[in-house]
Symmetry: C2
Subunit: 501 residues, 2 copies
């Protein structure tokens, strides 16, 4: 037993005063982490398998002290962490922590309720209904999405789960009409820019994966789904005896934040009796700002709408918000009613049991953190935060534009800039290799982390701004790294090999 251990009294499973003492220590540990966050390589530079060499191969029989564990986190875990909250994190779509979100996670973990049914913690269900109505209002969603009517909002873990549950609701709605034998004929539609969650949802739901139509897009629509392409695909499928049942439009695609034309797509969905889902996982938050709201014009025709509060809206992961117009469609697909969960209130059907709106049974009290974010920053605070992230992206874009070696590839819409080194003339392949090398070279510095995508065969760098600590100086410093690494690369490979050869 180490001396640290001897000095501390044994940790009880639960004890208010011990929780207070140790909780304060942990708060300081986390505050110190944020103080030092820029000192870590933002993208962890460890090698696969690094941690197994540092930890024992069994859990300890007798307790370790909190100090021992914190030391290990500092020395062994943190070097393996990719720091999503670093101001130099520009990869994927950033997922925000905030003080309010963190406090919300704390209180939720403190209460540790499991709110599957209303009765298992009434406030968990009711607060969720209320804050989702608050946000529906902030987003100016149509009344049908409010919990006061036939619809309502629900917190899912991720957009993948949101997409899955609505796909299942749509599947079962049509199978109830046509019979189970229609399953192999059901077709879903989206652009080829749709998130991979759609294909995964089709696969999970037992749908024919070949009937998940990913319709081609290109730069002529800035990678948005063309309504004529959709209309044609549907006609062709109907003519072949197939059954269109689901359309997913995206507002803010993962590759380039493309925005599908909701009004035109919604009309087609309506005409064909297709479930119309709008995935605004990333960009939905921006639509609480009046000047961005037009991006979801047409949501009025949607059956369901999803956005992630854990992306641009300062709510700690996970917190994906889903609204549906017809909650009974979800419930008919996902409800279970075993004896051991039956209770008077549920049977009176006057309340919502969120277990029937989601894949898992149990659920955390996530509405608390969403409420804390909405109240501690206020809608104006959140709007100003989002505007500021977009402003930083505009600044980055202006830097890219000024350097002739680079080009912005797709029109920037929100806080993502898609850019690349201009490839040598007639050498897309070489250009792709060059940009891939630039990506690796930049990321290996540990001073910035970005990711990539491919659009129409072009390898593209994605610079996504979202982390709360990011300021203009971080953008400038990041851009300096891109410029330096580009110079290093172009010095040897571009000018010498491409132009000089």
């Amino acid at each position: 037993m180490s001396s640290t251990k001897q000095m501390e009294s044994e940790l009880r499973p639960m004890d208010a005063e011990q929780l207070r003492e140790q909780g304060h220590k942990m708060v300081d540990f986390i505050a110190d982490y944020y103080k030092a966050i820029e000192n870590f390589p933002v993208l962890s530079q460890v090698e696969p398998g690094y941690l197994r060499q540092l930890l024992p191969d069994s859990a300890p029989n007798s307790p370790d002290s909190l100090q021992d564990v914190l030391n290990d986190i500092q020395e062994k875990i943190l070097p393996g962490v990719t720091h999503w909250q670093s101001p130099n994190f520009f990869a994927y779509f950033p997922s925000n922590s905030s003080i309010a979100g963190f406090l919300g996670e704390m209180i939720s973990a403190g209460l540790n309720t499991v709110g599957f049914s209303w009765i298992s913690s009434p406030a968990a269900t009711e607060l969720e209904m209320i804050v989702l109505d608050w946000l529906a209002k902030a987003l100016k969603l149509p009344d049908d999405f409010y919990s006061t009517g036939q619809g309502g909002g629900v917190i899912q873990g991720t957009a993948s789960e949101a997409e899955l549950v609505v796909l299942l609701a749509a599947r079962d709605r049509i199978l109830r009409r046509l019979g189970r034998n229609a399953l192999p004929k059901l077709v879903s539609y989206a652009s080829d820019q749709v998130h991979s969650a759609l294909q995964k949802a089709c696969q999970i739901g037992g749908l024919n994966p070949e009937l998940c139509r990913l319709l081609e897009t290109d730069s002529s629509t800035n990678y948005a789904l063309s309504s004529s392409v959709l209309r044609e695909a549907i006609s062709k499928d109907i003519a072949s005896g197939l059954i269109p049942f689901f359309l997913c439009a995206t507002v803010g695609t993962t590759s380039s934040t493309a925005v599908d034309p909701l009004p035109a797509l919604g009309k087609i969905a309506k005409t064909n009796g297709i479930w119309f889902h709008v995935d605004a996982a990333y960009a939905g938050s921006a639509c609480i700002c009046p000047e961005y709201r037009h991006h979801i014009d047409g949501v009025e025709e949607a059956d369901s709408f999803n956005m992630n509060a854990h992306k641009l809206m300062l709510t700690n992961f996970d917190c994906s918000l889903l609204w549906v117009k017809d909650r009974s469609a979800l419930i008919q697909s996902l409800s279970t009613n075993p004896e051991y969960l039956k209770n008077k209130v549920s049977q009176e059907n006057t309340i919502i049991d969120y277990k029937d709106w989601q894949i898992p049974l149990g659920r955390r009290f996530r509405a608390l953190k969403l409420m804390m974010v909405l109240r501690l920053y206020g809608l104006e605070g959140l709007q100003s935060y989002i505007r500021n992230r977009i402003k930083l992206a505009i600044h980055f874009e202006s830097l890219v534009v000024k350097d002739k070696r680079f080009e912005v590839v797709t029109a920037r819409v929100f806080s993502l800039v898609c850019f690349r080194l201009v490839p040598p003339p007639n050498s897309q392949d070489h250009g792709n290799k060059l940009n891939r090398d630039l990506l690796d070279s930049v990321n290996s510095t540990g001073r910035v982390f970005i990711t990539h995508t491919v659009l129409s065969g072009k390898f593209i760098l994605r610079f996504a701004i979202g982390a709360p600590l990011t300021e203009e100086r971080h953008i400038n410093a990041a851009w300096q790294i891109f410029q330096d690494k580009a110079s290093a690369l172009l010095g040897t490979s571009y000018h010498d090999s491409a132009f000089s050869s």
Copy 2:
């Protein structure tokens, strides 16, 4: 703006010193909550819709102060909370918070990483592999379940998700062999005591819900699945041209903690080439104690094994542990590989990307809390905690047995006691009503919360012990309430109407 607001400086999205200051306040709030937890009615006594009357119908435009929000939580939210961490919570299966688990949630929320792929936070993936190997060792699981071979462990949110992903892996394994047309013929098996998650998983996976065979059990096997009943059902289905593909055995059923005979069932599964899943969501934790390990004897033949660390094992919800022998079966069902997530390490196939083992894409760093629980209590501390919960159940059972008006209905195995008021002679219906009335009467005191089940037509009271603050005095006080309420009920309905009539 309230005066409280004026006194505080504006909350920034993220700021180390503000996080420290507000985090300390929240720790005190939560410690004070635990100090006062016995003062709240354990089962919330609010009426449906109570909260909407107390909160505004929009999110505020300008920020509220933390103190305002904490006041609202105290005055408006907490009355609507059912207090899962109260020492008087004996409903469902309790889901533990602990100091270690709470600290783990804090650090996980503080880092707020989204670890879908190894590269997105290497330590999140590697720590998960390691602590799941630690637990596999503590449970004496066969080597095939370790991440060092072809299998491995993964943290799912809930047992429902664990069950779903293995069902999908089993479904797709057989469909790869037989073709997609076999889907409507696939049959899964379990006892009628299996968790409702199985039927839900079948429904989600597009399987014919009528081919989810819930085989009848009764008191002759203490509600465990009989291997001869299973063998017969499989033979019958094969004879009808159907295709058995999945068997779920339960160790510790939800209604009565029945234990299915794994060795016999595993043999049948093996003979028939069926995926064999063992759901030990509740009771698995107990098997880290050598004297309970025999309940999972036979797990050697299983393809997958699941237990919830968030039930008896002091890890805050959610933390459901799943091990599989053949991780490639999961990955083949659940992987996606969009360009924007591609990276060198993933493509070299030397690491695990847990996104391909689960339904969602994103995932929290839950391994931290599991590590903190294992290290801050040690295996001996956890064993002693679990033994103590079971000892309390034995104590409660002894109290029930002493009161001739009551009977223990099924043999107690772990920390759940199934009991009821003995019904009047020849009056099962009246007995059921009586016990339902007793349940309502006891729960309406707010001093104890239990739930019920039905076994062979009998309405049964479930007294499940698990909350960390529960001591013998709480058991005694709870029993006193049962006795008093029984006397009140029997005084009017039992003696007077049943016996005297």
